[in-house]
Amino acid sequence: MDKLIIKNLTKSFDGTGVLHNVSFTVRDGEFLSILGPSGCGKTTILRILIGLESADSGEIIKDGVNITTLPAAKRKMGIVFQNYALFENMTVLRNVEYALLKSAGTKGEYSRKKAAAKAKEMLELVGLSEHLDKKPRQLSGGQQQRVAIARTLALNPDVILFDEPMSALDVDTRLSLRAELKELQKRFGTTMIYITHDQEEAYALSDRIMVMDAGVIHQLDTPHNLIDRPADDYVRNFVIRNINIKINSLIQFARLEDNK
């Protein structure tokens, strides 16, 4: 079943085209990565999907409903940013609790007590039970990003968008966080759209990958097909250049599968 149908998105800033007639679909429960060099328009897609930016033309259909002009708050989507966007004046626990209490989607649903319990539960899932009373600044980058993920998941969105969430982290942290993220997705079955310029990450995590450049989609396919049947020269070059990465990720992917 299709979770999201994106039709003919076009967007330009100050007369410069950023997206040209972009159309694609995202399946329910799918992990879809959008891969491309910086400036290719991938972040713009994300911002339009969640409602922080509006497209010049085009449509977004979610679960059969046209949400193109719906405000961000009503789209039931969550977003995780590269720089975590945590509430630094609040404790780790309070970050999640506050979201539950104030968010339009869950407002009134939770008493303070219930919110705290739910927040603890979510933070436990990401392995932060011991850090509930710390301020975000006292945590490592990976831990901070886990808080952000827990905070987003707690609100139980239909779709979670990730804007290069790991590019500020070191290699070891990335590897472990990757595994955890995949795990969480399986557990919650949430549809995830993941932006990255790191192919290795995309191959390791995704059900399908969308390769973009200069505001157009070159190919949207499984990692396997991208390598075996690249749609055009751009994708072929892109993949060959990173053949080593491919091998590495396949090995890791295999490991992830083994661990299950």
């Binding site: 010049d56 961000a72 969550g78 977003i79 720089n83 966007a85 509430f87 630094e88 506050y98």
Partner: protein, 527 residues
């Protein structure tokens, strides 16, 4: 964030703010500048005495800036990059000169280094320091703490990682300084130099007291406006004094560094070195003693019967000042300072939020208007307000003084808020929007609490400056709302230096108390 939507609420608010600025700064200024219509601008600026004053202003300000920045650089190194103890106390002591009007520094200098100053007599100096060096010393006195605070912050927040890398590579301390510190300091240094220069080049308190025959542009402007009632000529000079501040603004905007606090790798690690710490301690003590000499001198002067003929200690000056209404004026000053510290801060926060966290083209206009006040000399602003507001109902009320002070001191607190807001995670509103938490809720619950330290600094900045200011309010104050600082000029003009010193002391005391309150509150709010 939605640039496409022309009539979003934030655009409407920005337009509202622009209209406010139009009435608070632009139109009064235009009204003032309209007096230039009858002036032969060319004749004014090509006159020999003008070019001489301009040259002298530049020379003296340049010299004072170089010394002030060098001194504050040395001092900020001594405090930020060593392991000396009591850094908070040192920081407080170093910044005390910021708490009194520049004219009081001038007074203190006369007592020490005037022709009959005690140090001049002791050292056998003939003629005192009147003139070039008098202005330089006086200007350095009140301007270096400002430069110091800026540089200290820069050094304190510098990323330590490059130093560690350089050390591994085997670079010597000297090479590290030239390879890392200097390039890193270049951008902030430009801001520091221009801020200091602007402050010095527009001041007339010090040149009035110790300038001797050395004519500078602000004194010339003072003479034209106050002495000759020639507002037009005064405005021409006022316009020229705007130039350095304008350049500072442009440079500042050109190399704005919107660093994200989350990405500073690691703090600079201070190694152990007793020798270095001792040198630093020496520098600090030396500077603090120098700074406190004039302040201590005029503090004592405030309690001397009649300097220098009757040197007995006495409360006569206090009694005289109180008899003349010092308590009532102090009350006025406190009302003004308190209201402005809330009102001005609120306005600055609002403005800075609109320019730093909701960037559109309109933001640039707003940003430019917000920092214009930095460049307008107090006399020009004061007279502009008189002419523009004289027949409105707020003229002659406390509200008039609230407004003029909020505007006169707006730029610095605004820039503080602007920088802080710029450094706070830029995705907070986005993440809020995605969660369905409104912008105002995010501002209230997340952004403002994170900026609390800055907000307290802003409030104290407004407060302290309202206590000290003379130039802009001197035309707008009246019988009912006259602030305390105006008593300084009143006494000074009536040869009661001792009473003027007492009033300066009173202002200093209030400001020290304010600083202490700020210190306590800041300690509580840091997270």
């Amino acid at each position: 964030m939605r640039i496409r939507e022309k009539w979003s609420p934030s655009t409407a608010l920005k337009i509202l703010l622009c209209i406010f600025w139009l009435f608070a700064i632009i139109l009064p200024l235009i009204r003032m500048l309209s007096t230039m219509a009858t002036v032969d601008v060319r004749a004014v600026i090509t006159a020999r005495k003008f070019s001489k004053a301009l040259r002298q202003s530049l020379t003296v300000s340049f010299t004072a800036t170089v010394i002030a920045v060098a001194l504050s650089g040395l001092l900020s190194w001594a405090v930020a990059r060593t392991n000396i103890r009591h850094k908070t106390i040192l920081n407080t002591l170093i910044t005390v000169p910021m708490l009194i009007p520049s004219i009081s520094h001038g007074m203190g200098l006369v007592i020490i280094l005037g022709a009959n100053g005690w140090l001049s007599r002791f050292l056998g100096l003939e003629g005192g320091i009147y003139g070039f060096w008098g202005i330089v010393i006086g200007s350095v006195m009140y301007s270096f703490p400002v430069a110091y605070l800026m540089l200290y912050d820069v050094l304190r927040y510098e990323d330590g990682a490059p130093y560690e890398a350089a050390e591994v590579m085997g670079l010597t301390a000297q090479n590290r300084f030239f390879a890392i510190t200097l390039p890193y300091l270049r951008k902030p240094m430009i801001s520091v130099v221009f801020a200091t220069f602007t402050m010095i080049v527009t001041d007339y308190g010090v040149p009035l007291m110790v300038g001797g025959k050395y004519m500078t542009l602000p004194v010339m402007m003072y003479q034209d406006v106050i002495g000759m009632l020639d507002f037009g000529k005064g405005s021409v000079i006022g316009m020229i004094l705007l130039i350095p501040a304008l350049i500072a603004c442009i440079l500042d905007m050109a190399n704005r560094d919107k660093g994200n606090a989350a990405f500073v790798a690691r703090p600079y690690l201070i190694k152990k070195s007793a020798v270095r710490d001792n040198i630093a301690r020496g520098i600090c003590i030396f500077v603090i003693v120098l700074v406190f000499l004039p302040i201590a001198s005029f503090s004592i002067l405030g309690f001397i019967a009649k300097y220098p003929t009757d040197m007995t200690l006495s409360l006569k000056n206090a009694a005289q000042a109180i008899h003349m209404g010092a308590i009532r004026y102090l009350k006025n000053s406190l009302i003004i300072a308190l209201v402005v510290s809330f009102l001005g801060t609120a306005l600055a926060i609002f403005n800075a939020y609109m320019t730093a966290r909701s960037r559109t083209r309109l933001s640039y206009v707003l940003h430019l208007m917000s920092i214009t006040s930095l460049a307008i000399p107090g006399i020009v602003l004061g007279l502009a307000y008189v002419m523009f507001f004289k027949s409105t109902p707020i003229y002659g009320t406390f509200a008039m003084l609230f407004l003029v002070n909020s505007m006169h001191f707006f730029a610095s607190p605004y820039l503080m808020a602007y920088n802080t807001f710029g450094k706070i995670n830029d995705n907070l509103e986005n993440v809020g929007a995605a969660m369905g938490i409104g912008r105002w809720t995010i501002i209230r619950d997340v952004i403002l609490p994170q900026a609390m330290g800055t907000i307290l600094e802003m409030m104290s900045y407004f407060f302290i400056n309202c206590m000290m200011t003379i130039s802009a309010v001197s035309f707008l104050a009246n019988v009912r709302n006259k602030p305390l600082a105006l008593m300084i000029t009143q006494f000074e003009g009536q040869m009661q230096l001792e009473c003027a010193a007492f009033v300066s002391m009173l202002i200093l005391s209030v400001n020290v108390v304010m600083k202490y309150i700020l210190f306590v509150m800041k300690k509580r709010t840091t997270f």
